[in-house]
């Protein structure tokens, strides 16, 4: 009985969402009075792996086979599942990231495990192992019991927070046989916009809608986001019109996010849009229509024309930052 957390890296570095997953997995291990082991696959320096100790990983399995240098969904799932078996781990935690979403279901099938994806809280400890997870695109939560012996949980970014819990991470080399048939996908290229904050795990998000009238007006949105260190997002009509890329579309048919701060500019707040952003901790709405439905779910609001308010907000923010 122990807890295993998969720590994904991007170009050899762990992101905040990984430390969050480790913090969460450590809390589960504490609930169950057991140990936490992490597993890292690919090229990560020992100094970076040691960082995982800060959040409670006392042991880290390091897998660095040549075929596993870049992400291969099928092979990574096999390695994580075999590590879980060897370690006797019955709870496997991942970050509900794009890669995590591909891995978790395969691991669950391999281990005949129930999977709670999009988890937002620690499992309950009232005898039933149940996890609160998002459902209906943010319009509800499902308290889901994992009735199987093994359990897989994919934690939503920003749901639990990073919690320090110092341990000394002992690094162990872990070797797993890689089947040729597990290597069916081959990465040709990774394109990452390094100058921008990634939206799914951003803490602050500035989002704009049709009220901006055209893609040429996004300069002020980018500027505001840049000053805040925020990611940019948009509503569905905006990405449908190709004013902004689909990857920025948040809402029921786009991505669901839960940042600490969501600033919605010129977005009326249709039910489909609200579904994707309603779990944001603080919502600010700027809209010239005082009847815009978004104001009903906002914490702070400014009724006014985006073209007047946003430049002033930028000035005020510059002044605040001194």
């Amino acid at each position: 009985m122990s807890v295993l957390v998969y720590v994904e890296h991007a170009e050899g570095k762990f992101k905040k969402s990984v430390f969050e997953a480790v913090s969460y997995a450590k809390a589960i291990a504490d609930q169950q009075s057991t140990n936490l082991t992490a597993i890292s696959i690919g090229d990560v320096a020992d100094s970076e792996i040691k960082e995982l100790g800060k959040y409670g990983a006392s042991k880290v399995l390091n897998v660095s086979a040549d075929q596993l240098k870049t992400f291969v969904n099928q092979a990574y799932a096999s390695v994580i599942a075999s590590a879980a078996e060897k370690e006797g781990a019955d709870v496997i935690v991942l970050s509900n990231s794009f890669s995590g979403k591909g891995l978790a279901p395969r691991i669950a099938v391999k281990l005949k495990a129930g999977l709670a994806d999009g988890a937002v809280e620690l499992p309950s400890t009232d005898g039933k192992f149940s996890v609160k997870k998002t459902a209906f695109s943010g319009k509800a939560f499902a308290i889901t019991e994992l009735t199987s012996a093994n359990k897989v949980i994919a934690l939503n970014p920003n749901a639990f927070g990073v919690k320090e819990n110092a341990a000394d991470a002992a690094i162990e080399t872990f070797t797993a046989d890689v089947k040729q048939s597990d290597l069916g996908t081959v990465i040709k290229e990774i394109v990452r916009a390094t100058d921008k904050v990634s939206l799914p795990d951003a803490e602050l998000v500035v989002s704009a809608g049709r009220g901006l009238k055209g893609p040429e007006n996004w300069g002020m949105i980018e500027e505001l986001a840049g000053l805040l260190g925020a990611a940019t997002a948009c509503s569905k009509p905006v990405s449908d019109a190709d004013w902004r890329p689909h990857s920025e579309h948040v809402g029921q048919t786009g991505i669901a996010i839960s940042p600490n701060l969501y600033i919605a500019i010129g977005i009326s707040g249709a039910i489909q849009h609200l579904a994707g952003v309603s779990s944001s901790k603080v919502i600010v709405v700027i809209n010239k229509d005082p009847e815009a439905p978004f104001f009903k779910v906002a914490d702070y609001g400014i009724v006014g024309d985006a073209f007047e308010v946003v430049p002033k907000l930028i000035e005020a923010l510059k002044a605040h930052k001194g």
Binding site: S137, E145, S181, G184, V191, Q272, L313
Partner: protein, 245 residues
Amino acid sequence: MKILVCISNVPDTTTKITFTNDNTEFNTAGVQCIVNPYDEIALSRAIELTEGGKGTVTVINVGEAANDPTIRKALAIGADDAVRVNAAPRDAYFVAKQIAAYAKDKDFDLILTGRESIDYNGNQVAAMVGEFLDIPSVSIIKKLDVAGDHATIEREIEGGKEILTVSGKFIASCAEGVAEPKIPNMRGIMSARTKPLNVVDAVDSEQVTKVIRYETPAPRGTVKLIPADQTESLINLLHSEAKVI
């Protein structure tokens, strides 16, 4: 090319979500159901890939007879035939097991799903089917090109994209960008009535999850309105009251 597209029957995107029976069941009263929007994208791409006699598209749904209108909608969009596994879809594991059991000996070259259903948001079925069939799975793809038995795929990753190739049979879950959703035309709607919709029995599956109850998000307090000429107060509130900047 033989393509299988997995479709889910979901509440229309404008649905207000409520629950009954002590918050243990989704309240379907008055709810309009649709083909899951992401599955429509997958279906539309499958139709594009097989147009002009280059192959066939079968849609599969795990559900009860009440789903048939949604399945007919998929046939109207352009699928050639449909299969319904006659069972209430318990969870993603159950659904994936049914789809895998059906697909196992049918020799599909490609299986597509939407990135997730807009009701349970699992994003689980594609990768689970991949695991049950022991074929590669690629989740949340933005672009799919197929040449012979070789496919080039763009997959979304945090802050960018990954371009990968895969040979042979595989399954992928499709997001926006893979295709423009097709709208059924009159001929499609007419022909959908007579296209085959086969009903098959479910296979046994272990129970691994169970929804105990649903909750709706806690309502927020009343919005604090700030005059448009006092943007500095908003910054101050976000800094000292909300403590988010």
